[in-house]
């Protein structure tokens, strides 16, 4: 029986393990290896060149710009999505007529493919025939060149990202709000707490671990922003080139596999660093609040 159990054990775990090694662990280490070589797609034998690729990164002015662009994008997108999402969740907290239908409609943007959304928004924001500028002209207002003005391009991508991902924040915030037991609000009402006090001292602190989780997920995701950039401006536009877009340019337009690998490792390290900070923070809040809600 024991032998059989052992076989069974590996039988269950094995396929997943093989999959994980083949598609996650091997590529990761192969990527690390490549980042120390001068491998190119155009051929030739890859030679180990030590840390020279990493030196190139810090000389590359495109890299600094992409880092700034990505940082600005992440901070603005996540902050605005959090605020809007939480506000929507608060508005949807109490039951009212049509709430389920409204909630579903609000979730639609999240369920659509980013690439397709990028293309749609290309039409919506088009400077000549886009519906936004049509509407603005109907009122005789100034018509910004959303997609071609270098100062506006990133802002336009930001709008699309906010439109797509605010529902995600809302959904998680709603879960957090619904997890707060009603009797705490009743206790607070009896304790004569004002609405603001209830929000600041009960709703917000009890909801915050989930909000931080949502911020973590959105931050790591926004750091990898690529598809909207591809669909709206293309990967080479300096005004909107995020780290992932730069990586794409180096790797698949320049065919520099070795250099591209080192770019990807640097992005990975940034994501891991940020995620670690967030996860530690969430864990510390949860430890403080205790796992159960009394």
């Amino acid at each position: 029986m024991r032998v059989k159990d052992g076989v069974l054990k590996y039988g269950f775990v094995g396929p997943a393990l093989i999959f994980l090694i083949a598609f996650n662990i091997f590529p990761l280490f192969y990527n690390i290896y490549l980042s120390f070589t001068d491998a190119e797609l155009s051929g030739g034998i890859a030679r180990l060149i030590g840390g020279r690729n990493y030196g190139v990164i810090f000389d590359d002015t495109r890299y600094g710009t992409a880092l700034r662009t990505t940082g600005l994008f992440v901070i603005l997108a996540v902050a605005i999505e959090l605020l809007l999402g939480f506000a929507l969740a608060l508005a949807l907290q109490k039951p009212f007529w049509g709430k389920p239908a409204l909630t579903t409609i609000l979730l639609v943007p999240m369920m659509l493919s980013p690439a397709v959304m990028g293309l749609y928004w290309n039409f919506i924001l088009n400077g000549h025939y886009g519906v936004v500028n049509q509407a603005l002209s109907a009122f005789g207002l100034f018509q910004p060149q959303w997609l071609t003005d270098p100062d506006l391009k990133l802002f336009s991508i930001l709008i699309i990202d906010i439109w797509m991902w605010t529902p995600f924040m809302m959904l998680i915030a709603l879960a957090g709000l619904n997890a707060i037991p009603n009797h705490l609000y009743e206790a607070a009402a009896i304790d004569r707490a004002s609405r603001w006090t209830i929000f600041r001292r009960i709703t917000l602190p009890l909801c915050s671990p989930l909000l931080f989780l949502a911020v973590l997920l959105r931050t790591t995701d926004a750091l990898k922003q690529f598809d909207l950039v591809m669909a709206v401006t293309g990967p080479n536009d300096r005004a909107t080139q995020t780290l992932s877009a730069l990586l794409y340019q180096v790797m698949f337009r320049g065919y520099k596999i070795g250099l591209g690998s080192s770019y990807s490792i640097v992005i990975l390290l940034i994501v891991i660093a940020i995620a670690t900070i967030f996860i530690r923070y969430i864990a510390s809040i949860q430890a403080k609040q205790g796992r159960e809600t009394a």
Partner: protein, 350 residues
């Protein structure tokens, strides 16, 4: 006689088809501890929530010191409610839980006042060593003390307690019961205490209101409720083992059971059909004429409860623990005629 502190008139509440409360009227005097006793689902919690303002009644009026509060918000009522599940704020320490009601807008207490009140309440409830502990790291009894503490720091004009001891173990329940009585006497604040526990009701209440299926069946002192319950339902609420209720009819001057066994002499002006209420301590296993068979012997140490089949009628007898009783023994139960409660039977089942 002064106006009662709290006066409730004809309060009714329905949840859809279910009638939770039906024309509840009661009053509470200053400094009084009123126990509302009733089985689960009787409407006890609903009544408390309406008094606290968490629910609104469909009909009726609530007045405190003569002033109508029926439509006031909970915050306007200055009434403290201790929830059955404690409802501590989980993200706060014990001290912060106690501070919370004191920081309400309009209170304007100085930091010193707040600290003094918390120190005083914590001392009273013996939770001073716990003050800086997170509210989630407390035992059930500690949570309950903190919940009561959160109510008393406010110095409210009325306390409402919703089965506050139900979630605790028996030993702690006894300790806290005594403490609660002492606390209520010390503070002199009127209190409504909801419970389904007959011992709590008997030992704590200045008066007891018996609630069943949304109606108040009887209000009175514990002695009155115990000695002169006005219906079998009320009688069954108090006492252990539960009171024996036997449906009888009058036959040749005797109360006879359904199987026509005469069990005791009937008063000549008594109704022809009645329900007799006989507490287990008022039946003796000897001295009667009709035999009964012991079916269950429950030894409580100082006393013994016998469950017997008395001519088809199950009865419980409380007897001293001296004599050993055995299942199957034949006994001849006799009833103390002075201690029997007689309720005339109407068509409707009481």
């Amino acid at each position: 006689m002064n106006d009662p502190f709290l006066k409730i008139d004809n309060l009714s509440k329905n949840y859809g088809e279910t009638q939770a409360l039906s024309e509840i009227s009661l009053s509470l005097h200053a400094e009084e501890l009123l126990v509302i006793l009733g089985p689960t689902g009787a409407g006890k919690t609903t009544l408390l929530r309406i008094i606290a303002g968490l629910e609104t009644a469909d009909a009726g009026r609530i007045a405190v010191k003569g002033a109508d509060i029926t439509h006031q918000l909970p915050a306007e009522r200055d009434i403290a409610l201790v929830f059955q599940n404690f409802s501590l704020y989980p993200n706060k320490t014990v001290r912060q839980n106690l501070e919370f009601p004191l920081q309400a807008p309009g209170r304007n207490l100085s930091k010193e006042d707040i600290a003094n009140r918390i120190a005083h309440s914590a001392d009273l409830l013996r939770i001073t060593p716990l003050l800086d502990r997170p509210a989630t790291r407390l035992s059930g009894g500690e949570m309950q003390r903190v919940a009561i503490g959160r109510a008393i720091v406010r110095q409210p004009q009325l306390f409402l307690l919703d089965e506050p001891l139900t979630n605790l173990d028996a030993k702690l329940r006894e300790v806290l019961r005594v403490e609660l009585i002492r606390l209520q006497r010390d503070l002199g604040t009127p209190m409504i205490y909801v419970t389904h526990d007959r011992i709590e009701a008997l030992s704590m209440g200045d008066r007891i209101a018996v609630l069943s299926e949304g109606k108040i069946l009887q209000i009175g002192s514990p002695e009155e409720i115990y000695q002169q319950p006005n219906s079998p339902t009320v009688a069954r609420q108090l006492g252990y083992p539960p009171i024996n209720t036997i449906d009888v009819h009058k036959r040749r001057g005797q109360w006879s059971t359904a199987s026509n066994h005469p069990i005791m002499t009937a008063d000549h002006n008594a109704p022809s059909n009645a329900t007799l209420g006989i507490r287990a301590e008022n039946i003796s296993p000897r001295g009667g004429e009709i035999p009964a068979t012991i079916e269950v012997v429950e030894d409580l140490g100082a006393s013994t409860i016998l469950l017997a089949d008395w001519a088809g009628q199950p009865i419980q007898i409380l007897t001293s623990g001296e004599q050993p009783w055995h299942i199957g023994d034949e006994i001849y139960p006799s009833i103390d005629p002075d201690r029997v409660l007689v309720w005339g039977t109407t068509d409707e089942q009481g």
